[in-house]
Subunit: 351 residues, 2 copies
């Protein structure tokens, strides 16, 4: 049995405009510290456990070149370029088939490419346990121990402990993003974890689950070859692995196991997250050394040019080669409105 | 009798950083609308009344080239480059001597180069009256009708009307920048005007006044020739025309006349003034067309790059080729702190 990884790196996303663009999405950006992109960090992190020759990266055709450039250790044969975005079930189904063709007894770790982890050893230990659960159940996942009643994540309700794997429990149910009152209940109960989007499974079990729950996808994948991917893939049903497979597998009690994760995880959802994860000066500013800060507190500055802030607090100030964004950190989600305005104005060079 | 103008264009100033630099001071910047620098606007405005061949511009040696470039209609022989900054009395004394050598009966209008006027016709009318007063008195000035109890200006207290010149009055005294309580009294009294720094005089009268009140300066100027300016000028006493000459001439009642000015005058003292003087959208933003403004009010934006503001109010956001400034409009005076920090850090390329 070999252990494989699939990194899902096809996302676009607008929440890091002006740094993120259609051709330079979030996972390719060094959003936290040290100049390493989230994707490169994800690859590096999982490579400590799984040999790079068994790490598959799935991305969008338009991002294939940039993705390859970002991951010099990735084998060309392990880069899968989706001809069209079809959500996560076809992505994982395709990668599973590629792995099965090479290693019928593979166990697979599926990881999003755009998450941040501060404790690599804690991450590795959780992955180890999740892989152990995947050998015993249909599917395993890592659930993040919640630190606040966040309404931006799906939650996982846990049930009985799973013998032999430290900390692992059966999944009772997956719940959608809750409102604040429910999120507080979940946090208080101690039974809930955040859905991290990481999944672990025997490749054969995933193929069987897709056949059982998404037969149309299974048929499409069965007829797909290297030669016809460009025609077949875009016609696969567009559906998420969560909705199409995971929740349906999980409907039978005990099918899915979850390992709690407590390794400084963040989905780096906005410029606000970037500020939270960045090194800050004694006044809470995360800014380049060349910035001049006068009576400035709690600001995030990302810029090549020299930036001077005077008397401003809790702002995001981001400069890229062709644009500048200024907004309060607490409005970070609203950067979407800028992208929408640029779309409406037809200014595609800025998207 | 010929009418001449002297435009004082030697100022440096740091209040418009990052747009203003040692080699690109305020008067060379298009701080208000339409791409015209304050200096070019001053030259254009006075040229409507005084032939360009009789307009003298005094600037710093380091700015001579940029000044000449900015004023294509200025005669090369009319550009005086000060070898060192010696404040306004040597500046005006030198220009007066240059004019007297060409036209012994000249009447002279001295104008700062960095003021903004919205009503050119009103300005021309006030200049006409001030020149008329200059023929009747030792010295004339234009006092700006105050619109608020501003503590940033010197004030002029007026006395009896001067016959034959509409609106003109004798100057009772010049007063330094007052505190707010006094400024309010001045405004309420109706007798006070703001000192605009514009002066009008017969050239012979100014030479006589300098001889009487600043004999050391008079002697220095008398010994100065085209050949030795570089040695003599830097050793002239550094003193302002206000303190060295105007206040002393004004000590004798009736010597100085003042004409009230009400022509949309501003000394464009800070980015806040620039915002006040700029065209604004219905939300009070003065921003380039290419900016994207979402829930943004009362902001001043100057930038080449596309700028997006989300949820911010009353900010100054200025981008130049090598720097970006973000501060609240009401902190506009504190841009000085940035310049001081850059000096302390030895980052002279940004000064």
């Amino acid at each position: 049995m070999g252990t494989w990884a699939v990194i899902m790196a096809g996302g676009s996303g607008t929440r890091f405009w002006p740094a993120s663009r259609l051709r330079r999405p979030k996972q390719l950006l060094p959003l936290v510290q040290g100049g390493e992109s989230l994707l490169a960090a994800t690859f590096r992190r999982i490579s400590q456990r799984i040999d790079p020759s068994r790490v598959i990266v799935v991305t969008a055709a338009a991002l294939a070149e940039a993705t390859a450039r970002e991951l010099p250790a990735l084998l060309p044969a392990n880069l899968l370029a989706e001809p069209a975005p079809r959500n996560t079930a076809p992505c994982i189904g395709w990668a599973t088939d590629v792995i099965l063709a090479r290693d019928p007894s593979a166990v697979v770790a599926v990881l999003p490419s755009d998450q941040h982890v501060t404790d690599d050893a804690g991450f590795a230990a959780a992955v180890e346990r999740a892989l152990a659960v995947a050998e015993r159940r249909e599917l395993a996942t890592i659930g993040i121990s919640p630190t606040r009643p966040d309404t931006g994540f799906g939650y996982i309700e846990t049930a009985a402990a799973i013998a032999d794997v430290e900390g692992a429990r059966e999944v009772l149910r997956f719940v959608e993003k809750p409102d604040l009152a429910r999120a507080k209940e979940y946090l208080a109960s101690g039974r809930f974890l955040w859905n991290s989007g990481m999944f672990f499974f025997r490749a054969s079990a995933m193929r069987a689950a897709i056949a059982a729950h998404l037969p149309e996808l299974a048929q499409g994948l069965a007829g797909m070859t290297a030669a016809n991917t460009g025609e077949v893939f875009p016609r696969l049903p567009s559906i998420s692995i969560d909705y199409g497979v995971v929740e349906r597998v999980g409907a039978t009690a005990g099918n899915i196991g979850v390992v709690p994760g407590d390794f400084g995880w963040s989905d780096v959802g906005s410029w606000e997250s970037t500020w939270e994860l960045s090194d800050k000066d004694e006044k809470g500013n995360a800014a380049p050394r060349h910035a001049v800060l006068v009576d400035a507190n709690g600001n995030l500055v990302r810029a090549q040019k020299m930036v001077a802030l005077v008397g401003v607090s809790d702002l995001v100030v981001v400069e890229t080669e062709d644009a500048i964004l200024v907004m309060p950190r607490e409005r970070a989600q609203d950067v979407r409105a800028v992208v929408d305005a640029l779309k409406a104005q037809g200014r595609s060079e800025l998207l």
